[in-house]
């Protein structure tokens, strides 16, 4: 579903991605791990169109999307839940969620979808009239996730869902994510911390210095002592 070939991207003079090769098949879960600052977030931002690559190709469902605007990529069914959540702070939880269904295809079904999201995250339902900036960190994370689920996502990309959250909240978060994965969504997940993704039946990619340097299943990487020493329990 997603093909990334020789992707280079950066900010101004700084080169971050130095030739990424990546594939995500339909129904798969792919996890990208790696140290901070090496390009994981940049990778997602380039795929979703917030950043224009300097070289390389990105194909989504066979169509090239590198250099396309983020709005049109999103309308094609690629949902990127960004790092930092970026809630619309002055708007209520409900308004935030509704905006998640903005594209005309999803807008019509928004009542149904919001019901589903409230079902998945009852806490959001309780706070539906509250302004987003009054939510706690974990609640904001769920809002961001819920917002992303308001569209029929062909591909869901999550950027460090555990970032900045207390361990208990993180566990709950990942239970939700497991539920989402179980429903058949194709998922591209970025995490710095390997420990949360051990339970996933996923393909793991290690991104270092702007390149994918190691690839394998969860068990493969668990067996790799160097990887474990560096990333487990960070």
């Amino acid at each position: 579903m997603l093909e990334v070939r020789n992707l280079h991207a950066g900010y101004g003079q700084t080169r971050v991605l130095a030739g990424i090769e990546l594939d995500v098949q339909e129904g798969e879960t792919v996890v990208v791990i790696g140290p901070n600052g090496h390009g994981k977030t940049t990778l997602l931002r380039t795929i979703s169109g917030l950043l224009t690559p300097t070289a390389g190709e990105i194909r989504f469902d066979g169509r090239r999307i590198d250099g396309a605007r983020a709005e049109s990529v999103a309308a094609q069914g690629l949902v990127h839940v960004p790092q930092g959540d970026l809630p619309f702070g002055d708007m209520t939880v409900e308004e935030n969620l509704l905006l998640g269904a903005f594209p005309s295809g999803s807008w019509g079904a928004r009542a149904e979808r919001i019901g589903r999201v409230y079902g998945l995250f009852p806490m959001l339902g309780e706070r539906r009239g509250q302004r987003a900036h009054t939510l706690s960190g974990g609640e904001r994370r769920m809002l961001a996730l819920g917002r992303g689920l308001m569209r029929e996502a062909r591909l869901l990309m999550l950027d460090e869902p555990s970032l900045g959250l207390a361990p208990v909240v993180v566990n709950e978060m990942y239970r939700h994510i497991e539920q989402i994965v179980a429903s058949g969504i194709t998922l591209l997940l970025v995490e710095e911390n390997f420990s949360h993704v051990q339970a996933f039946d996923a393909r793991v990619l290690l991104l270092e210095s702007g390149r994918i340097v190691r690839e394998g299943s969860v068990s493969d990487l668990l067996a790799d002592e160097i990887v474990m020493a560096t990333y487990l329990g960070t």
Binding site: R69, E71, A74, L86, M91, L99, F102
Partner: protein
Amino acid sequence: MAALIQAIVSGLVTGSIYALMTVGMTLIYGTLRTLNMAHGSMVMIGGYVSWMLFAGFGWGPLVGLVAASMVAFAFGIVIQQIAVRPLIGRTGFDFEMTAFISTFAVTIVLSNVALQIYGARNKAVPPVIRGRFHLIEGVSVSWHSMVMAAVAITMLVGLGVFLSKTRYGLAISAVAQELDAARLMGIPVGRVYNLTMAVSSALAAVAGVLLASVFFVSPVAGDLPLLKALIVAIFGGLGSIRGTILAAYVIGLLESLISLYFGVKWSLPTLFFVIMLVMLVRPTGLFGRPQEARL
């Protein structure tokens, strides 16, 4: 005492008009990070549309309101396309100052085109209803003023509903608050920009139609509204609609009271000094938030 009440009443009417005039400017700043110097021209255009329909066909202000909003709606999109959009996303210069200057250039062109077409002479437009309504002894309001206030308030309420209940209205707020997140939702930012400029310009033009019979219609009819709108917008805090509306009424009342006690001549300078003091204490206006430059 009666004079005081009279001043308060007219201050409230003025405040309503200021709110109508300025809310568009703050909306534009919120989404486009642009101080739209062509905003005053939209007021001027509203006045001219109203005058043309009246002088040409004898049609009253109601038609003028609709026509002026449509004309200004179109102008808003054009201005966005030629003066603002080309600057977005480019590096090497300060976006805000450049957009300030480009919209300033637009206003120069529009004023002088109006001058060329219509000449410098003021045109007169009659009020919606003549006559005054007497509240109590010594206090009266012209019917036209009441209509002005009513229309202004209606439009403001309408705008509020639009921004919080409709799809594109929410999209405008979204773009103003978190541009990246909005894009990731598939919100077409370019279209939102156009819509913001168009709606804001239409509102300004409506104010222009309302003001046409109070002040004359002329090529420089937009200058004072621009200045007032700038003052109100920044006092209230750029990007904050609530702040703008509150500021509009505060400034309307202030102007009225200063005129009453010190004379009309002193209202603007005093206002300026008040603003200056306020900015010392709250550099981003009453409700403004320090915005990240981002376009």
